[in-house]
Amino acid sequence: MNSTRSGVFVLACAAVAAIVFAGARAAGNDYVFFAGYTVLQFVVLATAWNILGGYTGYVNFGTAAFFALGAYSTVFFHKFDPLPIPVLVVIGAAVSGLVGLGMGYLTLRLRGAFFSIATLALAVVLQTLVVNWNYVGGARGAYVIRPAEIAELSLPYIQYLFLIMLALAVMAVATARIVEHSKLGYGFATIRDDELAAEASGVPTLKLKLIATTLSGALMGMAGAPFPYFIGYLQPSSAFALEYAVNAIAMPMIGGTTSWVGPLVGALLLGTLQQITTVTISSAVNLLIVGMLLVGFVIIAPNGLIGLWRRVFPKR
């Protein structure tokens, strides 16, 4: 029954994605694809963060590190032998997933703020490594020249990138929903609620946390893999930017962390608002808006929009 529902959900997501893509093309303006790519990228990042931070309650401040790992994997292979972006996405996911697994082994015996600080340290260590690694551009950065269009699909390159990020967003949201409604989701929720009681109920908490860090890291790496092609010039300060860590936390917090819907809603709302602000006021205002909204939500709706919805319309 569950697998049938999941299949229907994936099909529905694919249908919505097709409508979004058709709508964006109908707008006839490349800016829609640029802005849409960024919003969708945050859908993937927020959803990925929520698998660890929302479902298991382990707050990861190192989103930028996993995102950058995906991006720098692409730079590495682009210099070595340019590969198609879908292959680079798989490589980015594998690299970030493995680092997520390693980070889990090293840090998951820590809890609360100690775990969060460790993830922040990981981002700093990785950034230092990249800054000092000449092959991927080091501190000066690396250029990734993209073609104007994908000839086989006769698609402008930005539309191709948008399509890839749309597919990744569908994949991330579908993965989050499938996890949430599976045995794994129950296990994750018990870790968030009470680890001692979870172990006493037969839940292998360490194994589940490692699955969460790996899955979350892999999805973040996937989001980062196409980034060098999107931005054209990748430098450590853009790949490890504070906005990834802040947004990946703020978006699920604003949407609601206990369900797959929360990060999706949070990323769509906040991401779109940031894009509108960027073109109407200033890109520098973005993080200020995030901060103000977070303060507002902590006071008005501590469980996010989904929590607010459930409070106003409780299930009968």
Binding site: K183, Y186, D193, D194, G202, L206
Partner: protein, 245 residues
């Protein structure tokens, strides 16, 4: 001689320089109802934590159905058939009462069953357990909506859902009224009648005496008495530990 379900030999646990458990020996036979008492700080909860794998003992062995449990994590011990309830109820707050019971069925029972329980079978077992503890009408409520006694019942039902052969109930009656204590004692006896061995850690002597077939007393990390309840409470060392010199 009946088979030993749990055998504890020379179990030691220290916290820095403080000796919490000092060479504890304990054997529990299958089907027994054992009461474990002792003043605050005597090591009762530490013993439970060592038995269940929450704490690692520095020395000594714990065997369950003849198997040495050294190195096994708490969830692995649960899967072997050793369940516990906590001194302070620790429900999964984000889940309904029914879903709280689903977790051990999914993770403990299905880990050892081939074929695994289906969704319908899991639902039926949850219902059966909730009926057994008297929470059937609260299955869709959240733990925050439960009274203290219902929370205790949920704690026991969740432990029961692991399908244990040994249930360790750590102060399952703390803070309850007389009639609620009677409810829980009756429930524990019902569980024992289903073939589950029960170790009850408790301060409420009336409950311990009504429940236990055997009484074990810990004082300052040492076992000072082990025997029939009516004999143990007349033991001079036990009287001294509880009433002073």
């Amino acid at each position: 001689m009946a088979a030993q379900l749990l055998e504890v030999e020379r179990l030691c646990k220290r916290f820095g320089g403080f000796v919490a458990l000092d060479e504890i020996n304990l054997a529990v036979t299958a089907g027994e109802r054992v009461g474990l008492i002792g003043p605050n700080g005597s090591g009762k909860s530490t013993l439970v934590n060592c038995l269940c794998g929450t704490l690692v003992n520095e020395a000594g062995t714990v065997r369950f159905e003849g198997r040495d449990l050294a190195g096994l994590a708490a969830h692995q011990r649960t899967r072997l058939g050793m369940a516990r309830s906590f001194q302070l109820p620790r429900p999964f707050a984000s889940m309904t009462v029914g879903d709280n019971l689903k977790v051990p069925l999914l993770y403990a029972v299905n880990a050892r069953r081939r074929p695994a329980l289906t969704e319908a079978e899991i639902g039926a077992r949850c219902e059966e357990l909730l009926t057994l503890v008297g929470l059937a009408d609260r299955a869709r409520r959240f733990p925050r909506d439960l009274t203290q006694v219902d929370m205790r019942k949920l704690e026991l039902a969740r432990a029961m859902a692991t399908e244990p052969r040994l249930l360790i109930a750590d102060e399952a009656m703390a803070g309850l009224s007389n009639s609620e204590v009677n409810d829980i004692v009756a429930l524990l006896i019902r569980l024992n009648e289903r073939g589950i061995t029960v170790i009850l850690i408790e301060h409420i002597m009336r409950a311990v005496m009504n429940f236990s077939q055997r009484l074990v007393v810990l004082v300052s990390g040492k076992k000072i008495a082990d025997g029939r309840p009516d004999e143990v409470i007349r033991d001079a060392d036990v009287e001294r530990a509880y009433l002073g010199q």
